[in-house]
Symmetry: C2
Subunit: 158 residues, 2 copies
Amino acid sequence: MTDNRGMRISAKADYAVRAALELASVSDDASLKAEVIAAAQGIPHKFLEGILGDLRRGGLVVSQRGGKGGYRLARPADTIAIADIIRVADGPLVSVRGVRPPELSYVGPAESLLPLWIAVRANVRKILGEVTLADVATAKLPEEVQGLAEDPEAWTNP
Amino acid sequence: MTDNRGMRISAKADYAVRAALELASVSDDASLKAEVIAAAQGIPHKFLEGILGDLRRGGLVVSQRGGKGGYRLARPADTIAIADIIRVADGPLVSVRGVRPPELSYVGPAESLLPLWIAVRANVRKILGEVTLADVATAKLPEEVQGLAEDPEAWTNP
DNA sequence: TGTTTCCCTAGTAAACCGATAGGAAAACTA
DNA sequence: TAGTTTTCCTATCGGTTTACTAGGGAAACA
């Protein structure tokens, strides 16, 4: 009995996506300071600084120091998928017991678990890999995704 | 920079499913001892005991003590979804920053993140909610799931 | 020169993960 | 009734991760 986590998206990944969305929403070659993003999204700013560092090292963001400095996206917002950001912030999208599905091996009646995890991962990848920062920032999700989110049953708890 | 987890299925959930599959694979009203399941699936047996306790409290398994005792499924294997087991062992299937998607609130350009997480969750639910223990134990996954798992690209790493 | 902003390293409290230990309580067997 | 088996319960544990905070150094610009 635990009542917490299953497949979870960490605070770090969530913050990373939100920061990137803030950058995506600003006119093209302008840049935002970490403090501004932190205030806009309610993210602890020193924590965010570390996350922006990850995004920079991951090649998703470029930075500039000094008075007129800040961060901006390294590529157009419609070429950066949500999956790209999560992977840079958090590592592999889906893992089972710490390892990526293809490395697993099951025996006996559990043999078909592997293709099942693979299918789950493929599905998550499909959604998070096709939705871009531009899609979310402009509130124009792909139809297929919009459709899933419109089903009222998708919003119910258990 | 981390190289580890993203959306993960814990060891506990993985073990729980495998134990349930072992129970599903045995002729109907027979029961298996924890030690036998542990040996068959290579799970630390004291750890497994705790997990089986969770499954019992969750109403998925019934137990019997003493000489001819052991565990068996509380319902037919084709009425127990993989999602049922993961939820009993690990809590909610999908969470963001520890909370379930409907409880989140986003502002500004992040507003459409909520429907995105909802869509991801709906998709995971769909797969893990429709695949039953019987499906996996007999290696007969629903066609749609089978299809996803057959795409060679689903098996590649990044 | 001085200010601003990013950048880097360390630390930390709390939770969680994956286990292990030891025994009490049933159920069955002889 | 005694003895065996197995589940059941509680407690503990080392290591890792999570979500932060602190403090200062290094660019860029005025």
